[in-house]
């Protein structure tokens, strides 16, 4: 797909990951933003993704969409999850389909499987580096049954399901990335981050690889975390399909 990609639309560019991707991609592609607030330094369509007719113009002439806009915390209230993540994500897929976009890269979340952290051995892993490692732990893969954290996690499963449907029904390529803990200070700040932390440059590497992956990739799901010793999310699939090689590790930090 690389050769034919010119214009990338990023929803939610004013967020943390949006800013990281803005800096990582600018100068290499023609970037366009779809955002409620204006975004300095980029052509920005100001609209709310819960309004389909308002967001349509942003998708014209777009090759690939990176859909980041969402309420992004596990404790988000129902009304916000419904409006932005459930309805808004449907409208983003719908507008992408209408405009003939080639691919949507959907920012899913580790929250779709974070429920496993309540049980052993994952419970031990996320207690942080002051605690012994379990003897072994099965990695969760992109095919593991979901166990969502919060309505937020449920809404990300909804987005992955919509993506699968838009791929099968309309031929839209959809790649879901279950992003770990990407943090403002770009380092772990809580015990479980030593399992699920993802550095700015690692998330940027993985998301860019998804944006430009060959068009033969029709639908897939990847985890985005750094190379952390206490990690429990499979990275083999991202390495084999996309060539993702994390550059960072939570292990170098002292908590």
């Amino acid at each position: 797909m690389k050769k034919s990609i010119r214009r990338i639309l990023i929803t939610g560019m004013s967020g943390l990951i949006g800013g990281i991707m803005h800096r990582a991609l600018e100068g290499k592609y023609e970037l366009v933003a779809l955002n409620r607030r204006p975004v300095p330094g980029v052509r920005c369509y100001q609209a709310d993704i819960s309004d389909l007719s308002a967001i349509r113009p942003a998708f014209e002439g777009v090759d690939v969409v990176l859909h980041l806009a969402a309420v992004a915390h596990g404790g988000a209230p129902w009304e916000e999850v419904l409006r932005h993540n459930v309805i808004g994500t449907y409208y983003v897929f719908e507008a992408a389909r209408e405009a003939g976009v080639q691919r949507v890269v959907f920012a899913s979340s580790g929250a779709v499987i974070m429920g496993y952290e309540a049980d052993l051995p994952y419970k031990k892993l996320v207690e942080g580096p002051d605690n012994p490692l379990p003897e072994e732990w099965p990695l969760l893969t992109h095919a593991s049954p979901f166990r969502p954290h919060g309505l937020y996690g449920c809404s990300k499963i909804w987005g992955e399901a919509l993506g699968r449907y838009y791929c099968d029904r309309y031929g839209l390529s959809v790649i879901c990335v279950r992003i770990g803990a990407v943090l403002p200070g770009d380092k772990p700040t809580a015990p479980r981050h030593f399992s699920v932390w993802c550095s700015h440059r690692d998330v940027a590497q993985l998301l860019e690889k998804c944006l430009i992956a060959p068009s033969e990739l029709r639908y897939d799901i990847f985890y985005a975390v750094s190379n952390n010793r206490r990690n429990y999310r499979d990275l083999t699939h991202a390495r084999e399909v996309l060539g993702y090689i994390p550059q960072d590790s939570a292990d170098v930090f002292v908590y």
Copy 2:
């Protein structure tokens, strides 16, 4: 759980499966209906599941909820799927939690994996009994990755995800049943029904077994289809966990 079950609330009792369950369960349990239209012969709370405050009274004193109410076809438009299946199902779980209900049996659908029918070998299977069987086909299990048909299928994945979350977070027991083609005439009427047909008494058997399964069963997913030769959905899990033994088969019908 059997001993302690007295009152069962059925949402959508005026639908086809609602009527089947009404007849199958009356006299054995205290039945209550939550329905937009009145339901003859049963205590009925008339309300729309997209209105949380209106449905709350129906859940008082209820032991188990059988949640059938939904728009129930693959081609349902977005507004209806959103209102009834996405928002309504959330409110049913929320009202059940608030009222201290023990279990919700959620009518999911084979539509969550029906996307597989576009590809071999499933494509061959659903072409009906006039066509040769594939040499072999892997059964889809409750742990197979989803491939939804329509927004309807996506909404059922949403319901299964919510159920998993309500189980993990609030201790509500949730059993999801991916119901096949339950038909008004109780016999196959299209080629694919010879794969996915589920007779009235088979769906009644499986749903009742879910309602009364031991309280140790916290969250699970089962397929409801009859014993059809062209079936591609695993029934071993339902047999092992619930003792489900289908009594009917599409194979006895001539198409």
